[in-house]
């Protein structure tokens, strides 16, 4: 990690800069903590740091306790164990499930919250931090997704009936929604300038004093770029981190519901900018599954901007993505 550095003009920084080493704009302060299996970072005006951090930390703790599939006593885990039976759930779980079903509908099932069994069969049956790099080969039959269509929900009663044998894993959408909810909560508390980042899924509101934008590092395969985000959200889906071997098979966490297997789109990562982090998260994942050609069409259809990084390190910017920032960063070098 320490040997990975990027040189840009007079600037020198590691490729994978830890959040606590990121630049902090004047008048702002940062805080970092672990939740939802990743690092949560917040940037807030100095005078609001303590109060704002408490708000965000509390929100993420609540969401993790409710929505994590890795916590046996979480409400989601209990719901999964009761598949086939009607269950009255909390407003939070119901809201996230409802949004997940909307995302599935909007993407024609390419985002699928009912791939838990497929992920378990592929070996992703525990928190990624606890997952070994190599797992023994397992004989199993693969099955495509799509069972989200059989979930019954009653909005008035907050009643959910999962199909028998089906489990829910929200994936990144829960993190994205938590980021959006955290910003909304900060706004309600009168904190109008903030950045919340949940392991790479981030959103901003306002702009720091003396600044005109939020410079965001976007990581490629062989280099990184600094993208000036003014408002909205950004999320990245890719295979650079959550991958492992199962026997002789390379596995990663981005399962294609059409096959029930890890996607083979030839992409390294897709980063998407959208109004809300939830949208950016879902769109990045779907674009990754679709590949560069159909994924580009998908982003353009919804007026989204994105960056596709291919397996060979080349990239393609889509929509209003600021290519000028990418070109300027061409001076960068990566030392490994």
């Amino acid at each position: 990690m320490a040997s990975e550095t990027v040189i840009t003009g007079n600037h020198l920084y590691p490729v994978r800069v830890p959040p606590e080493l990121m630049h902090v704009p004047s008048g702002m302060a940062g805080s970092h903590f672990r939740a939802m299996g990743t690092t949560i970072s917040v940037l807030l005006p100095e005078e609001h740091l303590q109060h704002g951090e408490e708000i965000v930390r509390s929100l993420f703790a609540d969401w993790e306790q409710t929505l994590s599939r890795f916590l046996p006593e979480s409400e989601l885990s209990q719901l999964n164990r009761l598949a086939g039976k009607p269950v009255v759930v909390s407003e939070l779980l119901f809201t996230v499930l409802e949004r997940a079903l909307m995302a599935a509908e909007a993407t024609d099932g390419l985002y699928d919250p009912t791939l838990l069994n497929q992920l378990m069969q592929l070996g992703y049956d525990r928190s990624f931090d606890e997952l070994p790099a190599e797992l023994p080969a397992v004989e199993h039959s693969t099955s495509p997704g799509g069972r989200w269509r059989d979930i019954h929900i009653d909005q008035a009663l907050h009643l959910v009936i999962l199909p028998s044998g089906v489990g829910v894993d929200f994936g990144g959408i829960a993190k994205g929604m938590a980021v959006d909810a955290a910003l909304e909560k900060l706004r309600q508390e009168g904190i109008s300038t903030a950045l919340v980042n949940a392991g790479g899924d981030l959103a901003v509101q306002g702009v720091p004093v003396m600044e005109q934008q939020w410079p965001i590092e976007v990581e490629g395969k062989t280099q990184s770029w600094v993208i000036p985000l003014h408002h909205g959200a950004m999320a990245t889906s890719g295979v650079s981190r959550r991958h492992w071997k199962q026997g002789e098979q390379e596995r990663h966490h981005l399962v294609d519901p059409r096959t029930g297997l890890p996607a083979q789109s030839g992409l390294w990562s897709v980063t998407v900018a959208a109004a809300r982090c939830e949208q950016a998260e879902v769109a990045a994942k779907v674009a990754f599954l679709l590949g560069i050609e159909q994924g580009s069409q998908f982003l353009l259809r919804y007026g989204l901007a994105g960056l596709f990084v291919q397996g060979d390190g080349s990239w393609q910017a889509i929509g209003s993505w600021p290519k000028e920032a990418m070109m300027q960063e061409g001076e960068k070098e990566v030392r490994r």
Binding site: I227, P228, G232, G303
Partner: protein
């Protein structure tokens, strides 16, 4: 029933009974109709003092003309108002279809789950000046 009109040289009623004027005049409210008229005796006594005063028939004709102008004016005003409202709606639609330079574009499919405008959209700043990153979007 006829009006007794002192100005009528022929001793004939100047205007025949017209019940719609009393019962169905749309420009008068019910309460106005119920107010008893006390003007007639006064007019009779004042008639001789003014040679230029309108006759009853002229007054009613004048009122009828005023009503016609009022109806015509109302129709014209309604038309103008309707035109303004339609123009405003068209202007709003066209302005929504023209995004600013730094905002997310509106597309025909921008509604629904991926709607961008409703959430305030997204936008990029100036990418010409490199700045150190304050945060990172990466595969988590």
């Amino acid at each position: 029933m006829f009006y007794s009109d002192a100005d009528d040289p022929y001793g004939q009623p100047s205007v025949p009974y017209q019940p719609y004027r009393e019962d169905f005049d749309p420009w008068l409210s019910r309460s106005q109709k119920l107010v008893p008229s006390t003007a007639a005796p006064v007019r009779s006594s004042q008639a001789n003092s003014s040679q230029t005063r309108m006759s009853k028939a002229e007054a009613l004709a004048f009122v009828d003309q005023c009503k016609r102008w009022l109806i015509a004016g109302s129709i014209v005003a309604f038309g103008i108002l309707g035109g303004l409202v339609a123009g405003q709606l068209a202007g709003t639609s066209s302005s929504q279809a023209a995004p600013g330079p730094n905002t997310s574009p509106t597309t025909p499919s921008s509604g629904g789950y991926f709607q961008q405008q409703g959430g305030g959209g997204y936008g990029f700043g100036n990418g010409n000046n490199w700045q150190p990153p304050v945060s990172s979007s990466r595969t988590s």
